[in-house]
């Protein structure tokens, strides 16, 4: 099987209005393809034609090399996970029954369904014991969104369609959900079509991006790197907006760059040890960690000398904390708002790993640019394997 999904000149005409104009696209297995474009460009219509919630006027859809344009639509949809912006959890069903919707329709036995529900809740980071018998209104927006994803994954479909899945949550929750989803995708490795109107989200989430234009067709379908460096036309350029170099930082993750070691010490250590550590370093701030090695305060020499009180109350609180799977764009954002000009990286348990300052970000920008130039000169373009990047930046 070469491509998981193939769209062949898919067209949708609503009465008196063209919605999608002859879209053809090959979507490789295991990739996230993001449909992005202005309102009314046909991106959502195209998505909904893949599971035939909207029937195409003409053209054909292939799933795993099988022509599914005419087969039973209900049975087709049970093979495709579907997540919508409003999440659409059924309010009168428990979390477990919501997740069990498709398996039950497929006639799985109770035991198998119960096991699958627990497995999925754990997969999206929710304790099955605590959540399976709750109702959607008893959960927060972010939790409901995870359940929505779990429900779409229930029958282990090879393909998932996501229609602005993170559009209805606040920006902080959205960023967490995006990162979590990328981590989840590393595990489940689905073929995903993802609609958004947010360019930054598209660049962050997409292995490939399809930019839809006002003419209801695809303006450019390529990897984020290529789209950022070589926009196909003026429309794409305008749509991307300014700061393509900055946006490219979405393409690199913190775990891919070398972290800077920063002088750090336990909050309980005595003042002389702390002073010594600070003096041994070239930095003007010392990072204090608590018993779990979680960063708590930045202290300067002045903070160390001055006053009595507990060490944990001195200096400045640590605000800019990121995880290794955050993008360099996130890191830069945090860095700028941080009071010491760098972002602290912690692992999944929140323990201190190192810091990122401006240098690796600059290196990454330069490397990305050089890589592109090289690949274009060679004339063969493939998606950038992430392994090669670390050598370039370290």
């Amino acid at each position: 099987m070469e491509h998981m999904i193939r769209l062949d000149e898919l067209t949708k005409r609503f009465p008196g209005q063209l919605a999608v104009d002859s879209v053809s696209m090959d979507i490789p297995e295991g990739e996230i393809v993001v449909f992005v474009g202005p309102s009314g460009c046909g991106k959502t219509t195209t998505l909904k034609m893949i599971n035939r919630l909207i029937e195409p006027t003409s053209g054909r859809i292939f799933l795993e090399d099988e022509d599914v344009t005419r087969i039973n639509a209900d049975r087709l949809r049970r093979r495709i996970g579907y997540v919508i912006q409003q999440i659409g959890l059924f309010p009168h069903m428990t979390i477990a029954s919501n997740i069990a919707t498709v398996p039950r329709t497929l006639g799985w036995d109770k035991q198998r369904i119960a096991e699958r529900v627990d497995e999925l809740l754990e997969l999206v980071g929710m304790d099955p014991e605590a959540y399976r018998d709750r109702y959607p209104k008893e959960l927060s927006g972010g939790q409901n969104q995870r359940v929505g994803v779990a429900r779409a994954l229930a029958a282990d479909p090879a393909v998932m369609l996501m229609d602005e899945p993170f559009g209805a949550v606040d920006p902080i929750t959205r960023e967490r959900l995006q990162n979590e989803f990328l981590r989840l995708q590393d595990e489940v490795n689905k073929t995903i079509c993802f609609v958004t109107h947010d360019v930054d989200e598209a660049i962050k989430m997409g292995d490939r991006i399809a930019i839809f234009g006002d003419d209801h067709g695809i303006q450019q379908f390529d990897t984020p790197e290529m789209i950022l460096s070589h926009p196909a036309n003026e429309f794409v350029e305008d749509f991307l907006g300014s700061g393509a170099a900055l946006k490219r930082l979405h393409l690199r993750r913190v775990r891919e760059v070398a972290l800077t070691a920063w002088p750090a010490a336990g909050v309980a250590e005595d003042r002389d040890t702390l002073r010594e550590k600070l003096e041994d370093s070239e930095q003007s701030f010392l990072l204090l960690l608590d018993e779990q090695r979680q960063p708590v305060r930045w202290v300067s020499r002045r903070d160390l000398e001055r006053g009595e009180g507990r060490m944990a109350d001195r200096g400045l609180p640590v605000a800019a904390i990121i995880e290794p799977h955050a993008t360099l764009h996130d890191a830069l954002d945090e860095m700028i708002t941080s009071n010491v000009g760098c972002a602290v990286v912690v692992d999944r348990e929140g323990a201190y790993q190192g810091v990122v300052d401006i240098d690796p970000v600059m290196t990454a920008v330069n490397t990305l640019r050089a890589e592109l130039r090289e690949r274009l000169a060679v004339g063969s373009w493939h998606a950038v394997p992430t392994e090669t990047v670390e050598e370039g930046t370290s």
């Binding site: 059924f90 309010p91 009168h92 980071g125 929710m126 995880e323």
Partner: protein, 272 residues
């Protein structure tokens, strides 16, 4: 995937309080409502006892004795309940499936027709409708006619509430269901109907009260019920008879409304 620090934050967001799981728990959730649930039967029974004691202390003449004896009164009550229940069951059996059908896309063009008919049923004065149906060449007099007339009169609230209840279901839920591969029928049975239950029940409750009240008119076409007592009291100019019929009817309507209210609370899907 293990749970990260960020996840833990997310988990600790205050989630709304869990709903009491038992029906009784939900009934008792709101202390103000508890008084409503206890108060109404107390008021009804107290008023019945008061009227009984008042009548027991009266010297009844022969006409009053003919009306106010245990046999006559209990027969009137039973007839009234039977007629009302039969009419309500018919209303539900006709109006709920009809309402469901009219929300299906294929029946859209028929909607104005049926809503119009139901409107006519309710707009015509109920006495007029009953007398009309009782014409010898139509249905004639008797309980059957009374039930048909009252059904026609009480159809609208159930029909309209069934339709509104289904139409107000969030389109996103239906799209989610269809998008996951549920058939139209499964979406109706598993999503639309359960979510419409509260609104449909409210319609049935309205219809029940309307039925109990309107069934008083059954007496005029010789179909029995508590209307016999009220009408008998009026035509014979006997206030105790009239009052007994009136208080029993009002109390019955209140009690049925009370039972329907509890049923609404218990049958409402959890999680809403």
């Amino acid at each position: 995937m293990s749970i990260t620090a960020a996840d833990t934050d997310l988990m600790q967001q205050p989630a709304p309080e869990a709903e009491p799981r038992s029906a009784l728990g939900r009934l008792l959730r709101d202390p103000g409502r508890v008084w409503g649930y206890i108060g109404i039967p107390i008021v009804v029974v107290a008023s019945w006892i008061a009227v009984y004691r008042w009548i027991a202390g009266l010297e009844l003449d022969s006409i009053e004795q003919r009306w106010l004896n245990a046999d006559r009164v209990s027969r009137a009550i039973i007839e009234h309940i039977q007629l009302s229940l039969a009419a309500t069951v018919l209303v539900i059996v006709i109006a709920v499936p009809l309402g469901i059908m009219l929300t299906r896309p294929f029946a859209k063009p028929l909607t104005p027709l049926f809503i119009g008919l139901a409107n006519i049923g309710q707009a015509i004065p109920s006495v007029g409708l009953l007398f009309f149906l009782a014409l010898p060449f139509l249905l004639g007099i008797g309980p059957r006619t009374a039930i048909v007339g009252v059904v026609a009169y009480c159809l609208l609230p159930v029909l309209r509430n069934t339709m509104v209840g289904i139409q107000q279901v969030d389109r996103a839920l239906i799209e989610a269901g269809r998008g996951m591969g549920l058939t139209r029928g499964a979406v109706l049975a598993r999503i639309e109907l359960p979510l419409a239950v509260p609104v449909i029940l409210a319609g049935i409750r309205t219809a029940l009260i309307l039925t109990v009240g309107t069934m008083v008119l059954a007496t005029f076409i010789n179909a029995g019920g508590l209307g016999d007592l009220i009408n008998g009291g009026i035509v014979n100019n006997r206030t105790p008879v009239l009052l007994t019929g009136a208080v029993l009817t009002a109390g019955l309507a209140l009690l049925i409304d009370w039972i329907a209210g509890i049923a609404e609370e218990v049958l409402r899907p959890r999680g809403l």
